[in-house]
């Protein structure tokens, strides 16, 4: 039986109640909107990228605890990263939440590993990441997790 506490860890509650990097980002030069058609979650992500380095990442929107915490943790993890690293991190994260083996160092993002026991919630955890992908590739269309 999958334990709810594996999914809803304290860190996740904390980030849900007090999302980090939440709000607008003046001077952002990358932007994308994400949308989870299944549950109606909306997420708007803004980045400031300079010299190939993500200097700032902030998000707005409304979502469930998993998608909010995931976005919050992601923005923390992004700061100071090279743009080129992001694809690997996304890949690793995706594998982790789907319960597949991964090699990338996840740091704090590892609290979301419990999502793999709840397949219906994988999309919640990855919404922020899909949106990030779109922002970095400057897609104009809002992305969905479908």
């Amino acid at each position: 039986m999958s334990d709810l506490r594996d999914l809803y860890q304290e860190v996740i509650f904390d980030h849900n109640r007090h999302p980090r990097n939440f709000g607008p980002l003046p001077g952002a030069n990358r932007h994308a909107d994400g949308f989870n058609a299944l549950c109606g979650d909306k997420l708007s992500l803004n980045l400031k990228v300079e010299g190939g380095i993500i200097q700032e990442a902030r998000f707005e929107g409304s979502g469930c605890a998993i998608s909010t915490a995931s976005a919050s943790l992601m923005t923390e993890a992004l700061k100071g990263r090279r743009e080129a690293e992001v694809a690997d991190l996304f890949e690793g994260f995706h594998r982790m939440v789907k319960g597949e083996p991964y090699t990338v160092e996840m740091g704090k993002l590892a609290v979301l590993a419990g999502v793999s026991e709840f397949p219906a919630r994988v999309k919640c955890a990855t919404l922020a990441w899909h949106t990030l992908n779109a922002a970095l590739h400057q897609a104009d269309q809002p992305v969905s997790t479908e």
Partner: protein, 406 residues
């Protein structure tokens, strides 16, 4: 005295456990579970007279055709339709609405015409009309509702004009549970010469309907929300309308004669049933209707009202819970939100307690927008649900709040 425990035995799935706990299935507005009578009817067909219909002189084909047409007659009686050929088999409510939009709609609407729908329609009764508007240049207008989820009927007279060709309205809202005054809407619409399509998808398992007294021009529903199989549904249409409509899809069964120069279409209902239909599904739906009639729709409605009343009273005592949809005389649906907790999280935690509800926008995004919510949690009741299960629901909701708010 109606006893749900007795009827539960007819639904084998209700014995299963989910996450180690007895299943409490409260997602009946999405789809209902199937009684043995339906499962047996489908199996019996496959074991004894599986054959294609209307095409063979052999015994099996005869028997399959009779069972298929027998199901059509059961549906006619269930809907109180005047003629059996007014019953068209479709894949479901969605396909039935699309059929009307693409056949009747395309031949009856032109630029400047208007289609009127309500603020609480399922996407299935919005999008096909939007597509039709795009094709024809017609305009879509909406009957607004109030904070309870009650249509503003005094606006209807203003919204109906001599350009209104069609009014599409749901009898029961799947997101809110509201039962709409469709009789009055039909009367008003007919007074300006508009046709009316009633979406009965959410209604037929709870409310008795009669096509002759209702007087609607089209009525649609899906078998799977009426204890029947998925992939089978019904379009009812008035005979003269159906007869004048062009076919939907082309193929076998819908023709009388085909040459490479010209094809003569079959008469109704076959004109709208191209290709081999969902034969077992139709037979299963016929069995579902027999089942519902044997339980008695009025018994079912009374039982569900009792469950809804109990659930509503319990809900009103939960701190931070807000009921979405508070129309008087609702049918079987309790939509709600919990302060500070997203419906999706509610859904996961309830599931962990064995309680299946729906969380999301219920294919009614405009309703969510109206209430400024991304989603709601929705418990919906069927004839086999019990007061004990309502109790389990609220124990699970307590657990959600403990987990989130501690």
């Amino acid at each position: 005295m109606f006893d749900p425990h007795l009827w539960r035995r007819q639904f084998p799935i209700l014995e299963r456990k989910v996450h180690g706990k007895p299943l409490v299935y409260l997602d009946n507005a999405a789809t209902t579970q199937k009684p043995l009578a339906v499962l047996d009817a489908e199996r019996y067909y496959f074991e004894h007279f599986n054959a294609n219909i209307h095409r063979g002189v052999h015994a099996l084909s005869q028997e399959a055709s009779e069972a298929f047409e027998g199901a059509r007659e059961k549906i006619r009686a269930f809907l109180g339709a005047a003629h059996v050929e007014e019953i068209i088999f479709t894949r479901g409510a969605t396909e039935a609405i699309n059929l009307v939009a693409q056949t009747w709609g395309r031949t009856h609407l032109e630029a400047g015409d208007e289609i009127l729908i309500s603020a609480m329609e399922h996407h299935a009764n919005i999008v096909p009309w939007q597509m039709l508007c795009e094709m024809t240049g017609a305009r879509l207008k909406v009957i607004p509702m109030d904070e309870r989820g009650v249509l503003l009927m005094d606006q209807v007279d203003r919204l109906l004009t001599e350009r209104t060709r069609l009014v599409g309205v749901t009898l029961v809202s799947n997101a809110l549970g509201t039962v709409n005054p469709v009789t009055e809407i039909i009367r008003k619409a007919h007074a300006v010469g508009a046709r009316v399509l009633v979406d009965g998808a959410q209604a037929v398992a709870h409310v008795a309907v009669n096509m002759v007294t209702l007087g609607c021009d089209f009525f649609v529903f899906s078998g799977h929300k009426l204890y029947g199989p998925t992939g089978i549904g019904v379009l009812y249409g008035k005979k003269d309308l159906l007869t004048a409509m062009p076919p939907y899809q082309g193929g076998g069964d819908m023709i009388l004669q085909v040459t490479f120069e010209k094809t003569t279409y079959n008469q109704i209902p076959y004109k709208f049933e191209a290709g081999t239909p969902h034969i077992s599904g139709a037979i299963g739906l016929g069995a579902a209707i027999d089942f519902v009639r044997s339980v008695g729709l009025e018994n079912i409605a009374a039982h569900e009202d009792r469950l809804l009343q109990e659930a509503t009273e319990r809900a009103q005592r939960v701190k931070g819970l807000r009921i979405i949809g508070t129309a008087p005389g609702k049918a079987s649906i309790l939509s709600f939100v919990l302060e500070g907790i997203h419906p999706h999280d509610i859904g996961t935690i309830l599931d962990n307690e064995g309680v299946a509800i729906r969380s999301g926008h219920h294919c009614a995004m405009p309703v969510m927008d109206f209430f400024s919510l991304p989603a709601t949690a929705r418990a919906s009741f069927a004839l086999y649900n019990t007061l004990e299960e309502v109790e389990r629901l609220f124990q699970a909701i307590e657990r959600v709040q403990k987990l989130f708010l501690s």
